[in-house]
């Protein structure tokens, strides 16, 4: 028994629903009580789906339990097949039905359903979760449909270069995108286009948008791209084992990873890899603005920004690489709720000299976040809320999602355009934060006396003033920010005298920190000299340093000690 106040992943049958709802022509009969129909709203509200998920719930009640719930299952299956005429039927149960053991899969197998393929799903609700359920469902469905095509054991593997003999372009499948996945809708557009430009066609994209008949065409491709390992891992492995289809495992999120992806896919397909290897660097520069934006002087202030990352394994690992190598951030925390992929996350963390945080307890994540004192959080919707509570800017990089993570505009994470999107979404919260601070800083200047408000807060007194204010603030932004950030690095207990005088209006430090630490008057005075926009961090650093040293009083000396300690 485990106390859960909130969970990153739903139960495994919700994973199965993601597969069924992502596809066309598939119906899912779920033996479950009425309350379980709540899952429909995940799709109709978060994804704004214009159709109900293709799910029939048996909605059995207590009074049915004495009687024949098996009959109810059969009736539901019959009705669903008749009404929806699916091309493939999934049959399964949720947590409660698992306990009463009606075995809906076996019941369905014994019924005459006009020959439609029936896949019985066994998703242990008391030990597994949503992503596992999605992966298992996808695997079971593909396996059931491809059974007739299975090559005899010992058959020769198809050559991944057979496209050449067959006189056609090489082609791959994109496996794993689903509804309620992070930006899958836009990723597949971007990756299909990217592959097309490199002379590679996409045969099947699944499950998102595929019909059962499309799954039958999977073996006609030369390789599979495991785009979302959380969902497509098992099916790709099985296709590799049974059909000899090679798997592309690089996930193209970020500049480096997109290059890796192109190199991997082309070399697997035995294309002209040398030309491609040479081309990808130039291509990255041409097609994505991230490399140049990251090098441009305006980005200097990003250097060493402390960033805390938590999400599903795929997106967390990708984010760590982008943050550390492509944006010059310092990753101060990396973790995931994906236990199935924990090993990969641990390895990625180790490369950054970190210990990976593998947990599905958001309070543990929030605590780790607070301790790491990051300047930016990259996480799920839950980390966004935690970060908000801690007053730290945040960008969402992973499921679980909220309606705002399904934007109207095309907004991929993968490929060159994905890198652009990432640059904007991660850097903007930081810039905005700084801009707001600068506005506070200059609010006594005459330009700001007339109700300049954040565009988030309310209408400004005059549009002209707003424009002027923004432009006026722009110039010092780079100057002051760069000064503060470069001089202070990750620690900030430094006296930037000129900036400090400009911010003499800021609130004094609390004399007594919550944890019983005392600030001496000279410590406070010294703290007050630190620019306000980094003062919070300086205070946190000093306090955690003092605690680590077993001090109960923080004076000016302690501040300088802490500064030295953290700038190592």
């Amino acid at each position: 028994m485990e106390l859960t106040l909130w969970t990153y992943e739903g139960p495994p049958h919700v994973g199965a629903m993601r597969i069924a709802t992502s596809m066309e022509g598939v119906h899912y009969v779920l033996h479950a009580p009425q309350g379980d129909t709540y899952a429909d709203l995940l799709f109709t509200m978060i994804e704004r789906r214009d159709r109900r998920p293709p799910v029939t719930y048996t909605t059995f009640q207590a009074r049915d339990l004495g009687g024949d719930t098996a009959e109810l299952v059969k009736r539901s299956i019959n009705d669903a097949v008749e009404r929806f005429q699916p091309e493939a039927l999934l049959v399964g149960e949720s947590c409660t039905a698992e306990l009463i053991q009606d075995q809906p899969g076996a019941l369905a197998a014994g019924m005459d359903l006009g020959g439609i393929p029936v896949v019985s799903l066994d998703l242990p609700a008391y030990s597994k979760k949503e992503n596992w359920g999605a992966a298992e469902t996808f695997y079971q469905l593909v396996r059931a449909l491809l059974k007739p095509q299975l090559p005899p054991p010992g058959a020769a593997k198809p050559s991944p270069a057979r496209w050449r003999q067959e006189g056609r372009r090489p082609r791959v499948n994109l496996l794993g995108p689903t509804l309620l996945g992070f930006r899958c809708r836009d990723d597949i557009l971007e990756i299909s286009r990217l592959l097309g430009e490199h002379g590679i066609d996409v045969t099947v994209v699944a499950p998102l948008g595929a019909r059962p008949a499309d799954l039958l065409r999977i073996p006609s491709a030369d390789a599979n791209v495991c785009l979302y390992p959380e969902v497509a891992g098992p099916v790709c492995n099985w296709l590799e084992r049974s059909f000899g289809m090679p798997v592309v495992r690089s996930v193209p999120i970020g500049i480096g990873a997109t290059g890796d992806f192109l190199r991997e896919v082309t070399s697997l397909l035995e294309m002209d890899t040398k030309a491609i290897a040479a081309a990808t660097n130039a291509e990255a520069e041409q097609r994505s603005r991230l490399p140049w934006y990251s090098r441009s002087v305006d980005s200097t202030y990003l250097t060493g920004k402390r960033v805390f990352i938590f999400g599903d394994a795929t997106h967390a690992i990708a984010a760590a690489r982008i943050a550390s190598r492509e944006l010059g951030f310092q990753v101060v925390g990396l973790g995931s709720y994906s236990r199935e992929q924990a090993r990969d996350v641990r390895a990625a963390a180790k490369e950054l000299d970190l210990e990976a945080l593998i947990t599905d307890d958001y309070l543990v994540v929030e605590r780790a976040m607070a301790e790491a004192a990051p300047e930016l959080v990259l996480g799920t919707q839950m980390e966004r809320h935690s970060a908000k509570r801690l007053g730290i800017p945040c960008a969402v990089i992973s499921t679980p999602l909220h309606v705002q993570d399904v934007p109207a505009r095309t907004s991929p994470q993968m490929g060159w355009e994905g890198a652009n999107v990432i640059f904007d979404t991660w850097v903007h919260p930081l810039m905005m934060g700084l801009e707001e601070h600068l506005i506070t800083m200059f609010r006594h200047d005459f330009e700001f006396t007339e109700g300049h408000r954040s565009h988030l807060g309310g209408a400004p007194a005059g549009a002209g003033l707003e424009a002027y204010g923004a432009a006026g603030a722009k110039e010092p932004t780079t100057g002051a920010a760069t000064l503060a950030e470069t001089t202070t690095g990750s620690a900030t207990a430094t006296a930037v005298a000129s900036a400090a005088t400009a911010v003499a209006t800021a609130a004094p430090a609390a004399a007594l920190a919550e944890n019983g630490l005392h600030w001496s008057p000279d410590g406070e005075a010294e703290l007050a000299k630190i620019p306000f926009f980094v003062r919070g961090k300086a205070r946190r650093n000093a306090e955690s340093f003092a605690r680590a040293q077993g001090l109960d009083r923080i004076d000016a000396e302690t501040l300088y000690e802490a500064k030295a300690h953290f700038s190592r």
Binding site: L3, Q34, D36, Y38, T44, C95, H385
Partner: protein, 407 residues
């Protein structure tokens, strides 16, 4: 008309979402599965809370293997929880489908824990499971669980039963006071430990139509149940307050003096929405059990035409007065077969459908305007003063449709 088939309704766990807000010193611990946890968080938008006052003890395979272990685990978990949350005065153990199917006896568990906690925290239990309860019935079960702890007393009082938004409650107490009713109390109370007494002097005034079991239990303790329509809309609220005041022995003039200006103002507030809603055809899908009362309000005061009024359950006794106020021949369906019901909706093409969140966008996509019903249990909608706001909830989707223009 009775229907059976697939239901598209939440289970009783959902009522935790408003009950926990009402009683800030209580914690609701669902004993269930990851599904239960996911349902509650999906319904509640949990992420905004630093640490919510509800959670789920998720059963694992070990708990299923042996009930002895499960009981021990539950005790351990409760101890840890209460240690971390010392402000909690009442702990509700909320049963779910899985806990009921494996016959984990939460009544016994509550007894056991009450012994262990020695009065520091009160432990109660009730069922919010989907096999026993729908949506709002969860509140009925929760109140029923509190009933035995209500001290006996025959002193005269008016007892409002059913969760009200705090400001609405204050307002109603004030209005009843102005009429001359001195002692007005509420169940559930704002502090879980300050339960109102009950006895022969108690007149029970239901604020919600779905509290059948609680009403009966209070009657069994000697309380008198006031029958009235429910306080939605001007007319419902007027009759509801009037019935209460009359039952408390007040003179008609005193009642009228307080009610008249409220009614007049309420009608003025509803009027602009009536203009939008009048003559429009309405279907209510079964959901919160408020359907009959809302149908009565939307017909009588907003001039809507009732195509079909669905409700998950129909307690004819508690809803007798509402039924009497509905126009003759109103189609009322009890229970649900969601596919058939949607077929009827498509055929009838009503102007507005009141339904759950799972159905709203799909219906909108078919060109049918909707109002999602869950808002009705979260918003302050009771009383004459709220009648305008209540009407606005229904007129907004129609006004919005008129507003949008893409060509």
């Amino acid at each position: 008309m009775r229907e059976s088939g697939q239901r598209e309704v939440f289970c009783g766990l959902t009522s935790i979402v408003w009950l926990h807000r009402r009683m800030p010193d209580a914690f609701f611990l669902v004993v269930g599965s990851r599904t239960c946890a996911h349902l509650v968080q999906s319904a509640a938008g949990v992420m905004i809370f630093a640490e919510p006052r509800f959670g789920t003890a998720i059963l694992g395979e070990r708990d299923l293997a042996g009930l002895a272990d499960a009981n021990e685990e539950l005790d351990r978990l409760v101890r840890d929880l209460l240690e971390r949350r010392p402000e909690i005065r009442t702990l509700f153990l909320v049963g779910s489908c899985p806990s009921e199917v494996i016959k984990l006896d939460l009544g016994k568990a509550a007894e056991r824990l009450n012994g262990q906690l020695a009065g520091r925290v009160r432990v109660l239990n009730y069922s919010g499971s989907g096999i026993e309860t729908t949506f709002t019935q969860g509140e009925d079960q929760a109140l029923l669980a509190m009933q035995p702890l209500m001290p006996p007393s025959d002193e005269p009082q008016l007892l409002i039963v059913g969760t009200l938004a705090d400001p609405v409650e204050d307002r109603l107490v004030d209005l009843f006071g102005r009429m001359g009713i001195e002692r007005v109390r509420s169940l559930p109370p704002r502090r879980s430990t300050e339960l109102p007494p009950v006895g022969r002097g108690t007149k029970v005034l239901l604020a919600q139509p779905f509290l059948s079991a609680t009403a009966r239990a209070l009657q069994a303790r000697g309380a008198e149940l006031i029958t009235a329509p429910y306080p939605f809309g001007v007319e419902g609220s007027r009759l509801w307050m009037q019935a209460a005041a009359t039952a408390c022995g007040l003179a008609p003039a005193a009642i009228e003096a307080v009610l008249a200006p409220l009614v007049e103002r309420g009608r003025r507030a509803v009027a602009p929405h009536r203009e939008v809603l009048a003559g429009k055809r309405l279907v209510l899908m079964p959901d919160s059990q408020l359907e009959l009362s809302l149908a009565r309000f939307l017909h009588q005061e907003c001039g809507m035409e009732l195509v079909e009024v669905g409700t998950p359950y129909l307690d004819r006794q508690l809803l007798a007065q509402e039924l009497a106020l509905l126009p003759a021949g109103t189609v009322i369906t009890e229970g649900q077969d969601v596919e058939r019901q949607l077929e009827r909706v498509r055929a009838a093409r009503p102007d507005l459908v009141v339904c759950g969140l799972g159905l709203a966008n799909p219906l909108e996509a078919e060109g049918i305007a909707t109002k999602w019903s869950i808002e009705l249990v979260f918003s302050p909608i009771h009383g004459c003063d709220q009648a305008g706001d209540l009407a606005e909830l229904f007129s907004r989707p129609l006004r919005r449709r008129n507003l949008l223009q893409f060509s």
